[in-house]
Amino acid sequence: MTRADKILLALVICALPFLYARLWFPDEQARYVRIQAGDDKPITAELSPDRTLQVHGPLGDSVIEIKESRARFLKSPCKGQQCVHSGWLEAAGELTACLPNRISIQLLGRHPRFDAINF
């Protein structure tokens, strides 16, 4: 075994715990929010800096708030306001929608904890 082999071997041994830790403890941190409005192509926005986004739907503008790497419907022109009451999305994979205004938001990350949410 050459010296280069030994160095590579040492690096691999050091890296293995970190590589597998990523699998055993998935990174659930959300990085982006995906916003779908009706049949338009979805847009993806970063979860920083904190800001609000206005998204147009058939009933008018919904306001999406992005704060501290979370996202929520802050305002929406629908009557039921269920999208607003559903609160903050915090983990990658979570989604909520304003069905009357045909707008959905979903947090994205590299390793979401769940493949789908049942509700």
Binding site: R22, R113, F119
Partner: protein
Amino acid sequence: MNPARLFFVLLLSLAANACSQHNDDVFHDQFFAFGTLIDLTLYGVEPAAARQASELIEQDFHNMHGSWHAWETSALTRLNTQLASGATVIADPSILPLIKEANRLSQLSSGLFNPVIGELISLWGFHDNPLPVGTVPDADRIRELVAQKPSATDITINGNRINSRNPAVRYDLGAFAKGYAIDRAIVRLRKLGISNAIVNAGGDLRAIGRHGERPWRIGIRHPRQPAILASIEIEGDTSVFTSGDYERFFEVDGIRQHHIIDPRSGYPADRTASVTVIYNNAATADAAATALFVAGPDEWPAIARDMGIKLVMLIDTEGVIHMNPAMQSRIQFEPGMDADVQLSEPLS
């Protein structure tokens, strides 16, 4: 190969394996159809094929919605109009299998899943979008509709001919059609050679195959908190359906009036917050979730047995979690979420 080199190769393989477990093999798409958000997840499908599959599935959903709509002009509303007149109806082939299966499941559920109470659901305003605000229907009118007892047993089907002996029958397949549509989507995906997928329609889903080296991981949301209540790992072919009083509702004097109507009383079933059913077939899971929601905390085990459902979790309006032992061993509660669990007798 000497032992040191073998060890070296083994380590490199392990490292490569760890690096390969990523999410890049997952295709995601979403679209609005069936009055809800459809979320499609495919694993291990080439992007172009995945895109094509998603477009086909979206078109299928729009077509099914057009045929099965309960209040906009559709094959179903035409059927309702003709049945109400007492005529023998030649059923549209796009809805006949759906009607037959809905009737079968209704009878298994002792009528607690009742696909023919469209008049009652309309009276409550759940055929309106947006929902009515501050309106509870007239009590006499509710009593009148309940007294007419529209039931799936009023329907006779011979070949493609349908008769009703009760003019109050009006099909509304809202508690069932979404599951049936998901089943059809799964059939479509399999025909396209796709064997690892989740079709999620507004939070109700059927999953086939798995996510690469691991099962699919599904989170079940709490009916009263913006949090995950529990999770489940599924693979092969499994549907997870939840009916909840938070899905479509309006409030009058602080009281929630939701869309799951008890056909026996004519009012929203008021002892259940949510029911989660796990079953292989989505249409059955959909109908069962509604039937068990209406059955409530006392009657659900009997109805589940009649419908052949083996995995159920019901959360009542007091926050008590009712489930059968097999369900308890199948799901994993989030920390602190299983404080008040009542186990039923086994269902099988």
